[in-house]
Symmetry: C2
Amino acid sequence: METKGRAMRADAERTVRTILEAAERVLAADSAATMEQIAAAAGVARTTVHRRFATREALVEALVAWATERFHQAVEAARPLTSPPLVALHQVTVNVLQVKIGWRFAMSRPAASGSEAAYEHADILAQCDELFRRARDAGLVASGTDLEWARRVYYALIHEAAEEGRELVDAGAVDRLAARVVDTLLHGVGAQAQPGPSGLSGSSGPSGPGAGGSAR
Amino acid sequence: METKGRAMRADAERTVRTILEAAERVLAADSAATMEQIAAAAGVARTTVHRRFATREALVEALVAWATERFHQAVEAARPLTSPPLVALHQVTVNVLQVKIGWRFAMSRPAASGSEAAYEHADILAQCDELFRRARDAGLVASGTDLEWARRVYYALIHEAAEEGRELVDAGAVDRLAARVVDTLLHGVGAQAQPGPSGLSGSSGPSGPGAGGSAR
DNA sequence: AGTAGATGCGACAGAAATGACGCAACTAAT
DNA sequence: ATTAGTTGCGTCATTTCTGTCGCATCTACT
């Protein structure tokens, strides 16, 4: 990826970064945006974009590769294979949320098969599965759970949280979002115990003891 | 929508249906498919598609409108406002899953603002919120839950289940998927009780009583 | 059977995006 | 200061999709 025949000049490297950042911004708002729009957002001429990225496809691929690298780092930094499952789950969620919020477009694209990014995604997936396996062995996840389903649910919850967190900026917000993701993943949104024998209470009136259990 | 100057001839009406069905199929596989591809899949000439739908946009809009109608019917048929919350939740999930599996493309698009479909979506959303409110009052959903988050999670789970159910065809499969969606929504994938005092068990070894509770 | 409507086919025009070039002006590195 | 690399601008060719039209043929309704 970085193995060019010769090192880039400093200004050229800056331009590449600027273009990629602009591409992420523009494409997040409209995934069908043209090279022209991306160039305008980057403050460069359209031909310059084409000089750096031969085709539109190449630009997107580079963008995905860049984001995937950060994604990978975010997961690894949480040490999902060694720290206690619950801690790892929370930390991974926090780190991934930050990346997903900042790289919405690039993270929503599948990596080209055979690419470096594809390998990284596969590696992340394997680490995720391993984490869930450990969580199950530790009694954190129910023993009868289909781990593939658990992973899918986890990914989906993170996606929702990231969507919700797009406008938030304060540091604590990501932590709160992550806490909710983990809590929902493990316990759902239901009350702890089911009130009636079959769980089928009346339609709307206050049937059971309304208090049930205030917090969770 | 159906108020044309004159009724369509029978064959023309068949053609419109055929085109819409083909469009759903083709666009589900590639949302950027051309009118040419859609026409080919429908077995008609490209010009015929343009005769029935002036622009590509109009075609997609009609497709969304058609699917949204079915979506709406699927929700209403489950009587989410009157049946017991848990029953309604399951029935809505089953019905919606069937529509989402068969109308993957159309259901993945937002309705044009101001359109009939947009009103239907809003109505469905209101019914969903009302259902969750009732579920909370009945003690099915924890009282402290953010209902908007609950709805988002619910939508996301249905989406995942629909994605998984794309290849399935046997009747019971949808019921099983729906059961898993509702179960996960309410209870998550975690074990019922947290083993340790803080939930932080050892990294991988069998720490707590592995049996915990065999099934759910 | 007769008529109005529907379709297939070929052709055409227009728009928009992509990608490539050459040249003049500028800038980083030596 | 020299040199090599970089950028902006204008231009051009090509491709692809869209949308329209006319005409011959066929088909549904009465």
